[in-house]
Symmetry: C2
DNA sequence: CGGTTCATTGAAGCTCATCAAACCCCGTGG
DNA sequence: CCACGGGGTTTGATGAGCTTCAATGAACCG
């Protein structure tokens, strides 16, 4: 595998082989790269004309607020992921986007993006593919909250994050750095923070994985996979858009 | 509003004004219309090369099965909706699709669809818009299961179905015909069938709505909306994105 | 340093699942 | 025509899984 200068290129590069010119095009999208502090929303739910970004560094979540005051985190974004791609399409943002850490992101001009796709169909295809993977993750999240108990659900989330981070070189089967607080995990898992704490303790005591001090250590990968009924397939297709282009498989 | 011969045209017609030629093109997609019995899956989770359809009559659900034997219904499809559009893009179907009633659907050839979009960008944009609305519904579903209690969640689903049916002329604010069993509702809501029954009783006793004998009667629309924290916006945007502009092209 | 955020643990209670049983409607076949 | 059976609905009883409230400690930070 080629050494990639950005996580975005690393991610797309795992779906299709990227040529030198294509790599340059991807770099050019990062022209307007800026730094944003944690906690101040990048995109606001219900607002029109919201921007889109490519995330270069740091963690972000997209969430929806309820009238009752609760919030549900729909998805996390990690380096290499798009932010607010959907809100470009549908004009009004359905979710808010909040940086969970200090973040570096590149503001994307929708027209530039369209131009790049028009000139580089393979890149367009890869991005569409990535977007469709994101949708699959939302579905998997829905399934988890609807039909998995707290332990399975938490294990599943930790595995999914690990798989995604591994794809961009920020994690391995043995673990990864993870800046999420138990409150944030709770909002994603549909649980209370107190219960998340107990679940993490149980995962630790069972010797499956340890989440402490911003670090997830996976002690028993196979056991965790089995507990969570974790299925790689929804993250790890066979490069679906372009016939004849085989994507390298995610190291399981 | 024009009288539409198909629910599919009715749905798209509510986003953009359809010209006479465009209506004809839409009709042409229904060439291979066939009837399918309830209960036999149209699309199979995990299988490649699955077909896509436009649903003309009857109800369908898309669901995922878990190792433990449970199932989570991700979404319902009603007349005018696409089935399996995503599985055309990503080659492998992420969900199974099962008719809940006897169903009429038109098999869609992906290449025909691409041709139609290339020649009628406005139609392409409207379909993309509809697809993005479907995604928004999945997100709303996720939020409901994660953060709403059984009563709110059920009310929300009944309202959403009502809104969607109204769009294609199959319902009003006062109610609609609904062929779902309490078991099916349970699989969608992440509840047990027994509890769904109790929740429906409570909605009835509170004078909010009555679900009996395949019919949903909404007795207190505003009360139901308030209980469910129901927000039209995610179904009911300000029309499609690229009014009069080129539709983004699918790479394929 | 006092203030804030996060992690941790205990106790009490509510929401919902599970088990079990009865009932209804409806179609089918003796 | 009635017995039978099957799918769906309804209700009760019990308890698991989670939330909520409350309190404490650890880590960080202006």
């Amino acid at each position: 595998m080629v050494m990639h200068s950005s996580p975005f290129a690393a991610k797309l590069g795992s779906y299709i082989d990227l040529s030198e010119p294509e790599l340059l095009v991807l770099e050019s999208l990062h022209a307007r790269r800026k730094c944003y502090p944690a906690g101040r929303d990048l995109v606001l739910q219900g607002q029109p004309e919201q921007p889109a970004y490519i995330l270069a560094e740091g963690w972000v979540c997209s969430y929806r607020l309820l009238a009752g005051g609760g919030r549900q985190i729909v998805d996390f974004q990690i380096p290499g992921d798009f932010l607010g791609l959907r809100s470009v399409l549908s004009r009004t943002a359905g979710q808010s986007v909040e940086p969970l850490t200090k973040v570096q992101a590149s503001l994307i001009n929708p027209q530039d993006l369209m131009d790049v796709f028009a000139r580089n169909p393979r890149l367009g295809a890869a991005v569409l593919w990535a977007a469709s993977r994101d949708d699959a993750m939302v579905v998997e999240h829905l399934v988890g909250i609807g039909r998995r108990n707290a332990l399975e659900r938490t294990a599943h989330l930790l595995l999914e994050l690990g798989a995604r981070l591994t794809l961009v070189g920020l994690g391995t089967k043995a673990g990864y750095d993870c800046p999420l607080s138990q409150y944030v995990l709770a909002d994603a898992l549909g649980l209370s923070a107190v219960h998340v704490n107990r679940v993490l303790r149980e995962l630790r005591e069972e010797g499956l994985c340890t989440f402490r001090n911003g670090r997830v250590d996976i002690n028993d990968f196979d056991g965790l996979v089995q507990l969570a009924d974790f299925d790689h397939d929804y993250l790890d297709h066979d490069g679906p858009l372009y016939q004849g282009v085989q994507a390298p498989r995610f190291a399981a």
